[in-house]
Symmetry: C2
Subunit: 406 residues, 2 copies
């Protein structure tokens, strides 16, 4: 009796218990309707995408039979050599003497986070991270069943011994220190030089690698760029091979995310193992997309960054001005020097998730409640506002409406 | 003293002990030199790549601001809706009533294998597979620390109880039955209808899902197509949701691998969980590549398949004729009705890996020793020959040279 057969459910791996549909992401799918002012996404403004340059680069990649054959074929797992060479020079300009052997190309930084979780985390190990932190990093790492412990670099870290001890008590080791040091997702904040040195010291004492997620680093509107954690550590330890910092770079915020091209920069020992993971996990990143990204980056990267900085600076200014104009005294927020996010702390007792429901229903405004960025619980009275997509006028109007609910 | 610092090595996850550089893949990198006749790769012939159609499709994807904004942006983890709709119709034509909700797009089938390993395998669980089997599947699954057990569908399977018992003794469960039923990599063989029924029975009795890797299924040169395992199981159990077969399809062998676009087709319960894995592992497959693949597939898929069949049939014929003409009596080989591979069994005591060294040095011929396709040990006296890349003339000459070494 075929129709009486029960639905088939395989025995899933234990890790699947950690992989829930993000309520937030599901909710946000419903919010793509016209008329809503969305501070939710955190995705780049498509007005900045270099569509003409991309069209030209795709044409060039397929223009000769030789190039087309390479563009459409399998390739080495390390990534397209000219792109890795360009990235190595780009990293060198930031003060780290990278060679192409220090680079592996990934399908977006999200894949880099997944591969680093695969490389490093056994069940029960500990990931140290600021709280709040990037939701996608938590999703990537959680597949490998770690626990999380919170750090506050430059402002109240516990002793290294206490982190190591807590990790051991939980049955593993502190395997990863994860941070977004520049214009963090979700808070928009940047770690000071003191905080960076503090973090490096902590990582050395507990002997863990630091994963430096540099997704927003290029988008500085003002102020002095700070050296990357990787640059500081390479300088302090004398070489790439002695540094414990693994740097995740991406073209998603400076060129376009749709090509899914990003990179990891680290010691050759670590990169070699990530290449094995790439081979086992997807063979290689799309070759044609790597060729196209190489052409766009080598011709236009600086110009695109300048454009993006100018574009988002205006929006950041609009948001900060509107917050100052409309928010009650009891509300606090960050003042980012770059990136895409402002982090708002509501009065104690207010709930960001509840506010979202009201904001959507009563004010046609959307954002992400801050709880989503907490590994365990917490942050109920916080919200993340992204100014990346709406116009400055819509930003002003959206903040005004949001403030009227408080 | 920076210069005295030791190289930094993090504490890697235990799974990394299972992820070694494939000696074969490393060796083959050295063999890309001109003059060598390579039966090694198993990659599609770039002469078949639809470069003009791809160029047109990339142009179209970027032609209007609206399309370009979507093509270059992030998107949903499920995959591009029109592509999933096209694939669902394509699957329906093969006898499975798929809807877009039964499909998730992956960055190549290799990523599909990785995601299914992530979904299903806990350390110590068992993967049942034919021996030999696809090397890349072993690499993908091994990251999740299973053991392997060999099946011989239609020809000497053990009892279901004995597989289940061996899995339990090893400390886990039989979680996956993995097969390439049509024109297998590496043997070129196709499972008969009896073997397919046999395999479905085994999977039902041990209550494990079957992963049906259909990478070569479209490349049939002659003979009658057999129903997919998924079509048989959907028919037998009455619906998609009751079927235990998860089907991995790909455009890599029929259109081009460089776009890295493939799919998994299965019950909605399984696809929903794979979407969570996609979200955590890479957010989404390159949108522009999905749009381009949709345009090429919907306009040219049948024609491309016909072309590929005709192209590879001639090469298969050349290889079988050369084997018959030159190989000594003591050598046996498969006679594939499609796909890209012939599997050669040398006389007992001969070693494929040793033969490769001699073949490269003395005859400028390359292939893959069969041991690489064995989960544990075995197959020392076997080799895999791919006829996909060399011309028919080169195939004849390469087989002649190889035979002269025996």
């Amino acid at each position: 009796m075929p129709s009486a057969a029960a639905s088939f459910e395989p025995a899933y791996a234990r890790r699947m218990g950690r992989m829930k549909a993000s309520e937030i992401r599901e909710l946000l799918k419903l919010l793509e309707r016209p008329g809503i002012i969305s501070f939710a996404g955190g995705i780049p403004d498509p007005k900045l995408f270099p569509a003409d340059a991309a069209a030209e680069a795709y044409r060039n990649a397929l223009a000769s039979p030789e190039r087309a054959s390479a563009a459409l074929q399998y390739s080495i797992s390390e990534g397209y050599v000219p792109l890795r060479a360009w990235i190595a020079e780009h990293m060198a300009a930031q003060g780290v003497p990278a060679t192409p052997d220090n680079i592996v190309i990934t399908t977006g930084s999200q894949q880099g986070l997944d591969f680093l979780g695969k490389l490093l985390i056994d069940p029960g190990d500990t990931v140290l991270t600021t709280v709040p932190t990037y939701l996608g990093a938590l999703q990537a790492f959680s597949a490998y069943e770690p626990r999380y412990d919170g750090i506050r670099p430059g402002d109240g870290n516990r002793t290294p011994g206490s982190y190591a001890e807590a990790a051991a008590t939980a049955g593993g080791r502190a395997k990863i220190v994860y941070v977004v040091p520049d214009f963090s997702n979700p808070t928009g904040e940047t770690l000071s030089l003191v905080a960076r040195e503090d973090l490096l010291r902590l990582a050395r004492e507990i002997d863990a690698p630091i994963l430096e997620d540099a997704a927003y680093r290029a988008l500085r509107f003002e102020g002095t760029p700070l050296p990357s954690l990787q640059a500081l550590d390479v300088a302090a330890t004398g070489s790439f091979e002695t540094s414990r910092v693994v740097y995740l770079g991406t073209f998603s915020k400076t060129v376009a995310p749709g090509l899914r091209v990003a990179w990891i920069c680290g010691s050759q020992a670590i990169i070699r193992r990530l290449v094995l993971i790439t081979q086992a996990s997807e063979l290689n990143v799309s070759v044609i997309n790597q060729m196209v990204m190489h052409e766009i980056a080598s011709r236009r990267h600086e110009g695109l960054i300048e454009q993006a900085r100018a574009h988002y600076r205006v929006k950041r200014d609009a948001m900060l001005a509107a917050l100052a104009a409309h928010m009650p005294q009891s509300v606090r927020w960050t003042r980012p020097e770059g990136g895409l996010f402002v982090w708002v702390t509501l009065p104690e007792g207010l709930d960001g998730a509840e506010l979202l429901k009201r904001a959507v229903a009563e004010a046609s405004v959307a954002f992400v409640p801050g709880g989503a960025f907490h590994p365990d619980v917490g942050g109920a009275n916080t919200i993340r506002l992204s100014y990346s997509l709406p116009t400055p006028e819509a930003i002003a109007e959206g903040v005004r409406r949001l403030a009227s609910l408080l």
